[in-house]
């Protein structure tokens, strides 16, 4: 288990992409390593096994349970985020002494909304990002600072300014690399963010 790795449990849908990008950028800019199911595109690896392996590696977990609306095609909500939150909480509860040191940030889009659909987590401190990227960055960076006790984690306003500068540079970077922004894989984006932050920020 690494105290520098953060499991990102959130939707990978197009409408959440800018939120996902903000979470990943904030984690890297704060000095941590993001981990998520998208990092290793190996079709022969069972997806749940991959997620369990990542959860086992990570001291910290960021879980956004805000996406509860039903899918237009199936008429059903997606349950992956609550499932992975449950796996993370289970590892903390029943795992080794080291696994019991796990810490979670649980995010929703409105305060207390979770009580209507996942009331068993009442008693946990659920943070609201109000479906707003600035609030999300403030919540994630503030939580990383206090959960890790690393005072070096910058404030949300600084990280958001850095993210804006990175997004301005991204078209130029993609032009140089002869790739379209929408063609970037998760590992490409993490690589670009990490190198850009260490060179420019």
């Amino acid at each position: 288990l690494s105290k520098g790795q953060v499991f990102v449990n959130c939707p990978f849908t197009p409408d959440y992409h800018s939120f996902f990008q903000a979470i990943v950028f904030t984690i890297i800019r704060s000095g941590f390593t993001p981990r998520c199911a998208r990092e290793d595109d190996d079709g022969s690896d069972n997806r749940l096994n991959k997620i369990l392996r990542i959860i086992g590696d990570c001291r910290f977990g960021i879980h956004d349970i805000s996406k509860t609306e039903v899918d237009a095609e199936s008429g059903l909500p997606r349950f992956n985020m609550p499932l992975e939150l449950g796996l993370f909480l289970g590892a903390k509860k029943f795992g080794s002494e080291e696994q019991r040191l796990k810490k979670s940030l649980i995010l929703d889009c409105e305060p207390y909304r979770y009580q209507k659909f996942i009331s068993d987590i009442s008693g946990h401190d659920i943070h609201s990002h109000d479906a707003n990227i600035s609030s999300l960055i403030v919540e994630v960076s503030g939580w990383l600072r206090s959960a890790s006790d690393r005072r070096s984690v910058p404030g949300g306003a600084k990280i958001e300014a850095n993210l804006g500068a990175f997004q301005q540079d991204l078209p130029n970077l993609c032009h140089e690399l002869d790739i379209q922004i929408n063609e970037l894989e998760y590992v490409d984006m993490v690589g670009l963010m990490s190198s850009w932050i260490s060179e420019v920020a």
Partner: protein
């Protein structure tokens, strides 16, 4: 007989959690090397692209 020169590989910088350090920001945050490398380009190409960006003032 010539003296054999032993050269050691450059030391890899690691933080206390065992992760490899990629660099450091101007405010002192250690940026970690990602667990996986990019698949669409090389690290060298990426660094070259970043070095060609116009210099910014006061980003951090």
């Amino acid at each position: 007989m010539t003296k054999k020169t032993i050269t050691s590989a450059p030391a890899v910088k690691r933080d206390t959690s065992g992760g490899q350090i990629l660099g450091r920001t101007s405010d002192g945050v250690r940026i970690m090397k990602p667990k996986f490398s990019p698949t669409s380009f090389t690290v060298k190409q990426m660094q070259s692209a970043i070095s060609k960006l116009p210099k910014r003032v006061g980003v951090s």
